[in-house]
Symmetry: C2
Subunit: 208 residues, 2 copies
């Protein structure tokens, strides 16, 4: 029985973006579909007292250089060419994350995610600037006005908050996070184990 | 041509111990032998401004629990049964790390490493207590007096210091660290990639 698999993401995390680029291959090999769950990483950090790698690596000799080496290895291994550091990093993602739930309301969830990830990490823009964001949506053929209006909808805001609180309650502390059934995996470097766990759970008989 | 492979370790790191338990299987599959390089992790941390996971995880919700989950996964995957948390953690490892270089002088390097790892993480003792350490050496059939005397030998102390400084110069910031040729890998969770890199480098023609 194929397990439920989830990808908890925030557009602000480059490692989540890199995972996003690899998930289609895992889906093709295993037959599962990842459920994308928007969570506000800033909210996760606040609830867990965690900080971003950009903060925790600051001032430590060799460690950031090693992380960059691992990023290059990941790009090479998965033949990812569409990746550029966002020069405005860290981008405040509150609005574009609410936008993901707004896009869900409009039936544009997947198109929105692909477009915004592109605007963050492939051809990066300053997506926390309201006018830049609006132009980016329009350039991607998304209904900018409807999305931006819906970002202030209490139900949309509430869904992002609820996703974030539920993630923390399930053990999440950073991004990207994955669940295979109830099994939690943290980090793009766990994707091989995520895939093995999908295959292992699929081999188990169902509950019926 | 088989590459030079190195394992940079400090007895104080449980993750280095767990890697140590897995290296024989990698050696058996690939035909390489890991060169064990004693480094003083406290010295690495001081030189790089890094801290141990015990420090960096403190106060962050969910993160230590996740690390424990990953430890349990690692133990299960590699069928490691000989592992017990050292109740005196963190143990000051300066003397027992100098002891590794002392043991090298005495031609007992490998026996010493196996014995001290056992006393740290299989049947843990307070190895920074001089009398506990002496008894542990004797119990393992090691020449306690000779080892302890040699720990103060300037050449022995100098080798540990030189190993540590060279490691930092090569990009090391924590433990365990591995080198496959010049390629640096950090953490027990990279062992699969270390093995793949060994195989990849072995497949390359030599310089002759």
């Amino acid at each position: 029985m194929a397990p439920d698999v989830e990808f908890l993401f925030d557009f602000g995390s480059p490692n989540a973006y890199l995972a996003h680029r690899v998930l289609p291959a895992i889906e093709a090999r295993t037959g599962v579909r990842f459920t994308y769950v928007p969570v506000l990483l800033g909210g996760v950090f606040k609830a867990t007292n965690n900080v971003s790698p950009a903060v925790s690596l600051a001032g430590i000799r060799n460690k950031a250089e090693y992380q960059e080496l691992e990023t290059q290895r990941f790009l090479a291994r998965h033949a990812i060419t569409r990746f550029r550091r966002n020069p405005w990093f860290p981008v405040n993602t509150l609005r574009i994350m609410r936008g993901a739930e707004a896009a869900r309301t409009l039936g544009l969830f997947e198109r929105y995610i692909d477009a915004v990830y592109d605007h963050m990490w492939a051809e990066p823009r300053k997506m926390d600037d309201p006018e830049v964001m609006r132009t980016a949506f329009t350039d991607s053929g998304l209904p900018a006005d409807a999305l931006i209006t819906l970002m202030d909808d209490p139900a949309v805001k509430g869904r992002l908050l609820a996703n974030t609180e539920a993630a923390v309650a399930r053990g999440v502390f950073g991004s990207p996070a994955f669940f295979v059934g109830t099994a939690h995996y943290f980090g793009k470097d766990r994707l091989e184990e995520v895939e093995r766990e999908i295959i292992a759970q699929r081999a188990q008989p169902g509950p019926s």
